[in-house]
Symmetry: none
DNA sequence: TAAAAAATCACCCGAAAGTATGAGGCGTTT
DNA sequence: AAACGCCTCATACTTTCGGGTGATTTTTTA
């Protein structure tokens, strides 16, 4: 009896299969006289067993097993103060609050490296005027008026290393 | 082309089915001469399409649809490293190697704070020209040509915070 | 697909930064 | 005392920055 209970599902599947085959066997003879009966028969089997497969898989791979993998992680930021040689991690939150675009951040980090507008323009393959525009916009967003100030603020906000 | 991309999966299924039917059709003739060929054929179809069904369902009813209902939130603490209030210690050795004078260091640190020459001059009660001279000299000693570079280098050398 | 946001470029102008050069005062070092 | 380094200041000149305005193109988003 224990065996029966433990393998309940398996037995149901087996019986279902047997019944299906039986039904198909019955149809087999009735359909033999019809044109293309074989194709129809094969198609029926295909369809039925596809459905069976779908049903089977939904039973077997029940949500439980799937969900354990895709549990949503809720990230809680916890401030940890450390010292020593910092491997820089961009402060995403602060970065977003500044409203800086990716390009502006790029320019900003090059400014911090001590490059002139012309040098930045060359290294990014754009005109100096474009860099000037970026610089002006980024100054506005950081609320500063000089590149040294911009670097200062950006470092304080952990936007650049 | 967009149609192709959007219905990629559908097309794959259709092609797979077609190929399966083709294979089965080929086997059909070869197996006709064998005893119980029909049963074997039907069985093969059944098996293949069961597998197809399983595969199909796993693709179609992807975790997404199931999980939205049973989404679980898992709280994970993520350490976020924040530039803590670093207690700066001047690198005496590096400082001496630069040959910078005390006054020059003073000017340098004000430059790093984002002050203009005029502002530095005012805060040190000297003329702008004096500051310019200091700046020029300190650039020479640090082997740079721009204040942003000077700040970069000085920070790297731990001469300024 | 229309609207919004980014990225691109240009031109002008004034302010700031940077270069070069010279020079006077002041304390220490030889 | 002469030499040296440092701080101070000035003048003159060049280059770079930064502000303002306007426009086009590309990308993203609603």
């Amino acid at each position: 009896m224990q065996f029966l209970r433990k393998n309940k599902m398996l037995i149901i599947y087996a019986v279902s299969l047997a019944i299906l085959f039986l039904l198909l066997k019955l149809f087999e003879y009735k359909l033999l006289i019809i044109d293309h009966s074989f194709e129809i028969y094969a198609g029926t089997i295909a369809l039925l067993f596809t459905l069976l497969g779908i049903w089977l898989s939904r039973k077997l791979f029940s949500p439980k097993k799937i969900t354990t993998i895709i549990e949503k992680e809720k990230i809680v930021e916890k401030e940890v103060f450390i010292a020593g040689p910092q491997h820089f991690v961009l402060n995403q939150k602060a970065f977003e609050e500044t409203d800086l675009s990716a390009r502006e951040l790029e320019v900003l980090s090059l400014i911090a490296k001590g490059l002139s507008n012309q040098e930045i323009a060359s290294s990014l393959f754009v005109s100096v005027n474009t860099i000037k525009t970026h610089v002006t916009n980024l100054f506005y967003k950081l609320e500063v008026t000089r590149r040294t100030q911009a670097v200062e603020k950006a470092k304080k906000l952990s936007i650049i290393p």
